[in-house]
């Protein structure tokens, strides 16, 4: 026991010193509670869309220099605030990019940041910054499908068709492989905009499920030689297309006792035959499937 005291005493001193040190640091740098308070206040301000006030508080956390537990979240929410302030798009993009590089970044917040980077790139491109397209194009082969799909969707909205057509392979992939109708319908609409022939090709390659391939709608207004509305769209978008018809035309259908379900049922029953509905104003709606 006596021999061991030589070793034990320094160890006790070390433990005491560490204990006192940590206690002292807790009193001298009350950083964590302060950051927490600032962060909670900032989040309430964000919830109420008070972006500038929230940004001040978040900036305070970021500028404190101590990369504590609230630092990474403060960077993310800083991006959110900047994203909502007009003219701060580039700063917002940098904040999101900083966040996704952080070691303790959360996967859900990373995905949200990536989505926001894609949105911001679209805004910057619309304002004339062609380099912003790189942010969209580089995400077309992102390992996260949600990000890859969103990048393709956003790219399809670019007015320059040569650029927008780069999204075609991913949009085709969505239709071929995904089951979620919200995703596949969006991809179909995007392809109808960018490359209807690609949509035709991908729909034709899909295994037949017994349902029709194409819905055709023509609306002829009285006195006009050519149809005012002319649509050839995939059957999968039929319900959406009929809902998206002009209010007047929908009214004409309702007056004749046709609701969307009745139209769909009649079309499904009588393949190849034309459903011809005459409106009171002399307009004619022709709907058929193939």
């Amino acid at each position: 026991m006596g021999f061991n005291m030589r070793k034990i005493i320094p160890a006790i001193c070390l433990v005491l010193a560490l204990g006192l040190g940590s206690a002292a640091s807790g009193r001298a740098f009350p950083q964590a509670p302060t950051d927490e308070k600032l962060f909670q206040e900032a989040k309430l301000l964000i919830f109420d869309k008070k972006w500038d006030a929230a940004l001040d508080k978040l900036q305070e956390i970021v500028d404190s220099g101590a990369k504590g537990p609230y630092y990474s979240q403060a960077v993310f929410y800083k991006g959110e605030c900047l994203n909502s302030i007009k003219g701060r798009e580039k700063d917002a993009l940098l904040a999101y990019k900083e966040y996704i590089q952080l070691r303790d970044a959360n996967p859900s917040l990373i995905e949200k940041s990536e989505g926001s980077i894609i949105d911001l790139a679209g805004v910057l491109y619309d304002k004339g910054d062609r380099t912003a397209l790189k942010e969209l194009e580089s995400r077309l082969d992102h390992p996260n499908r949600a990000i890859k799909y969103y990048a393709a969707y956003k790219l399809s909205l670019v007015p320059d068709k040569a650029v927008a057509s780069k999204a075609v392979p991913v949009l085709e992939q969505i239709i071929r492989t995904e089951k979620d109708p919200e995703l596949t319908d969006r991809a179909r609409i995007a392809l109808l905009r960018v490359s209807p022939e690609s949509l035709k090709s991908v729909e034709d390659r899909r295994p037949s499920s017994g349902s029709p391939r194409m819905l055709r709608i023509r609306i002829w207004k009285k006195g006009l030689k050519s149809p005012e509305v002319s649509l050839n769209i995939p059957w999968a978008l039929a319900d959406l297309a009929l809902s998206a018809m002009d209010e007047e035309d929908k009214m004409a259908l309702r007056k004749k006792g046709y609701d969307l379900n009745k139209i769909m049922n009649e079309l499904a029953k009588s393949k190849e035959s034309i459903l011809r509905i005459e409106g009171e104003d002399g307009s004619i709606i022709e709907i058929w499937i193939e």
């Binding site: 949105d119 969103y150 194409m214 050519s226 050839n232 297309a241 998206a244």
Partner: protein, 265 residues
């Protein structure tokens, strides 16, 4: 064809007044009786009269020529023509050669060929524009696609609000002590909803659905909070979120916006 035995030379001589008196009387008597010969003589007379008129014009033209000055004018023209090649540029000579009358039919043919060729190339290479029947390809106007996207935004926002309500109720309605009961499924659903929200952002802004956008943003923020929590949600955090939702009457607002969207407002 005149089968009359009278010779054509007699008829010509009669007209030109070269017949002797006896023969002239005989021919005149014959012409009174023979309509074919009379007709031929009349035709010949018209030809002779035409020839006489031309002869007169030629005589007039020849009379107007200054025969004494003509050799000098011809000499001047020849000398002027000899000097011309030095003054005419290559392009001018090419133009003169190219536009010479002999080549005009060929040029006209060439021009017609170019026009027809261009027209056929245009017809062959132009993008097929859907006619009234639109062919067998898919086709929809930009205006229709915008309306389809608006309809999709309306439906998906209603769906987002409904599902968010369930997930929030699951998180906030379950006491902290029953952590296990708060299913991991709700966490997965919250992440799925976060993933879908980004598609709604553009449409809610584009179609000026401001109320729906505000409520969806607030829900998104709650989900972002929840998505960061691993394991059980501490009671203090849960209470804070519950207070926030109640204070801002989030569920009431969700229901109101949902009803508006369902009614097509």
């Amino acid at each position: 064809m005149n089968d009359c035995p009278m010779k054509n030379t007699d008829r010509l001589a009669y007209l030109s007044g070269d017949l002797e008196e006896g023969r002239r009387t005989t021919v005149a008597e014959h012409l009174k009786k023979c309509p074919d010969c009379r007709e031929e003589v009349e035709e010949l007379r018209r030809v002779f009269e035409g020839a006489d008129a031309v002869k007169g014009e030629i005589r007039e033209a020849l009379r107007s020529v200054d025969w004494e000055a003509l050799p000098g004018r011809i000499a001047d023209y020849v000398y002027a023509g000899a000097e011309k090649p030095d003054k005419i540029s290559v392009s001018e000579r090419f133009r003169m050669w190219f536009l010479q009358p002999r080549l005009r039919p060929a040029l006209a043919g060439l021009a017609l060929g170019v026009v027809l060729g261009s027209l056929s190339m245009y017809l062959v290479l132009r993008r097929p524009v859907p006619g009234p029947n639109g062919g067998k390809n898919y086709y929809a106007s930009g205006e229709f696609l915008d309306r389809a996207e608006l309809e999709m935004a309306r439906r998906e926002t209603v769906d987002y609000l409904e599902r968010s309500q369930y997930v929030l109720l699951d998180f906030l309605g379950t006491p902290s002590g029953q952590a296990a009961a708060r299913s991991a499924l709700s966490m997965v659903q919250a992440r799925e909803l976060l993933s879908k929200k980004k598609y709604l952002n553009r449409e809610l802004e584009k179609f000026q659905m401001a109320k729906a956008k505000t409520i969806c943003d607030q829900i998104e923020m709650l989900f972002l909070e929840l998505a960061q929590i691993s394991g059980d949600l501490p009671e203090a955090e849960l209470a804070k979120m519950r207070d926030l939702v109640e204070d801002r009457q989030l569920f009431l607002k969700i229901n109101l916006v949902k009803k508006e969207l369902q009614n097509g407002v």
